[in-house]
Symmetry: C2
Subunit: 413 residues, 2 copies
Amino acid sequence: MITADLVVTNLVELVTCEPTLGDGPLGVIRDGALAAAEGRIVWIGAAADLARDVTLGPSGRRLDGRGRVALPGFVDSHTHLCFAGSREEEYAMRAGGASYQEIAAAGGGILSTVRATRAASVDELVALTRPRLRTVLAHGTTTVEVKSGYGLTTADELKMLEAIRWLGQAQPVEVHATFCGAHEVAPEYRDRTDDYVDLVVHEMLPAVAERGLARYVDVFCEEGVFSVKQSRRILEAGARVGLRAKFHADEFVALGGAELAAQVGALSADHLLRARLDGVAAMAKAGVTATLLPGTAFFLGLPYAPARSFLETGVRVALASDFNPGSSMGPNLPLVMTMAVSQMKMTPEDALLGITLHAAHAMGLEAELGSLRPGKQCDVVLADVPNWRYLSYHYGVNHVSRVIKRGRVVWAR
Amino acid sequence: MITADLVVTNLVELVTCEPTLGDGPLGVIRDGALAAAEGRIVWIGAAADLARDVTLGPSGRRLDGRGRVALPGFVDSHTHLCFAGSREEEYAMRAGGASYQEIAAAGGGILSTVRATRAASVDELVALTRPRLRTVLAHGTTTVEVKSGYGLTTADELKMLEAIRWLGQAQPVEVHATFCGAHEVAPEYRDRTDDYVDLVVHEMLPAVAERGLARYVDVFCEEGVFSVKQSRRILEAGARVGLRAKFHADEFVALGGAELAAQVGALSADHLLRARLDGVAAMAKAGVTATLLPGTAFFLGLPYAPARSFLETGVRVALASDFNPGSSMGPNLPLVMTMAVSQMKMTPEDALLGITLHAAHAMGLEAELGSLRPGKQCDVVLADVPNWRYLSYHYGVNHVSRVIKRGRVVWAR
């Protein structure tokens, strides 16, 4: 007999994302139940078998799922949700046909976010970001990656990472930080990119590592920003101080970011709108996750990544929001699933794996998160839908009615 | 001095959609206020002038806008939200590349909704549809058009329209019904489309008109469904019994629906993905509204309507959801705005007019609805955003915090 402190019953479907635990590629258990103790799943199965196997401890809680669908808490493995300022004017200008240069000349673009973020204190960044994490949680996301990269000085990058660390402790969403000092060349280093790379490698990275402020290192490997060679320098320097690589690759130009990701053994290469299939195949072989961000293509009006061709190479495909003020001001992962299905022709199953188990892989957290099986964290979303397919099918509506993080109800409608 | 029974104050922006009442094409009043009596707006202006002009009656209510943005209640002028059954499997099949024929062979397609709707009673249709109207309201829609067209027999079309009438009386969203018996050729009339048109004209339309069950008449004017000639017959027969034309035109093929809309003086021609620019220009001249449904293009993965080219003809462009189980299972009009801006490159101003004033025009209700000015119904949405642009910019999140219909708060977060 297993003793639990949380039991969830009355679930029309329990979507484990573990094929061995139920039906189909998502391992769906109809009329399922789960039990947790001390924040971890201890039992999962058919509700009819629960009483045989599990006893609820004296202070335990029995949660009535009310016929809802239970799924793993969603994992958003690529966001820039810590920032100051706002760029809705730029969004309007872009619809009117304004170029990147015209937007920058009007005071927009990434450097406008850098100016505002530099001007903000840690406390101000926390105050601005905390409601965004609340919104993320309300849409079912229980774990989120958040990048620095709007500071672009050592002090401002550390400030962002301190705000991100603070946020991870101050609210229920699990936050993992990425040092993204090479998000853009700092304006002070215009036309001196190699000098800025030196700053990143010799000053920023050691300072971040010394303070234990980040888990991952990211670089915007793109024509006109950081070359493959510069990106490799940064990622390898990150590896030397214990940061796993997870970076922006081949978004606008086929520069060779996918190939680089395979060579350096990155956790994930992200965007990949223009990636060469050979490069993606190399990623598949090296076990690198391809993280696609269809919300960005949607928001910018660009063609979507060829997800089906990528899947045919055998690469693991994750989906993330890219939530940021410039190129995708949207935190809703089920809506990202709808884009994946409608626009990129992924199956609904692959789309759901993309925001759960595969996203956990993209963060190296697959042993802890991303699916529901005994031993993993009890991070669960209850959705008020007749079956899991409605999450992407009935789109633009937030179906999440309850969110459980480490065995505790942290959000309820 | 004007006596009011509702006063709304503390609004960071009051977006009137009446250029003469405020700044810019949307007539925005910063720090605005409005007053209503007996469900109609009686005063609108700067909060600073409110006390000078308006007194609140003894049982009146003062609503604190808490620094939110006020906008006209959204108008969804094209939906099929009354239906039985569900088509999430078909959505998955389509992503996998299944053709229309394969989907129909597997039991999907519009006729699957017809089968389920024919099998449902009025009460069952009401019970299925009422929560959808609640969702619609929660996303800021205060007036909705709902079509019949899943019955395709006289009795089943009347049944749908009775359910729709009942729904209009049973909940706060204002509902206007469209008779859409010519949504598809009934399966019993396969290869006898002219006979089905006879049934629509000689039996269905008189029965609908006699019972006063619809305000509009719609037909799916499309290759393989109803020809321009057949559509004209139906629309003209509708006109004879007092129903205004408002119909599906040029969605998949440039059949001449736009031209027909101009010729018969329709209120609106809808979809228009393939419409010829000449036809749209004729619509502009005839005062017909072009209603675009980007959610459908999004959901089906089709190219969007060329909205900017349409706007250049001078045509009035409305935006609607097309909420239906087959081709767009989404009721969220602010998300439709995002699609209009990101995908069709409409300005955010035109996108907002598309779901307010221009949608009211598409329903012939512009004297009552769609903008905020004295004399019109007091249908107001309060949105928890720093400015109105966030409605489409910060997408995939429901920003609506309160909905007022005819001067009464009918939904609050």
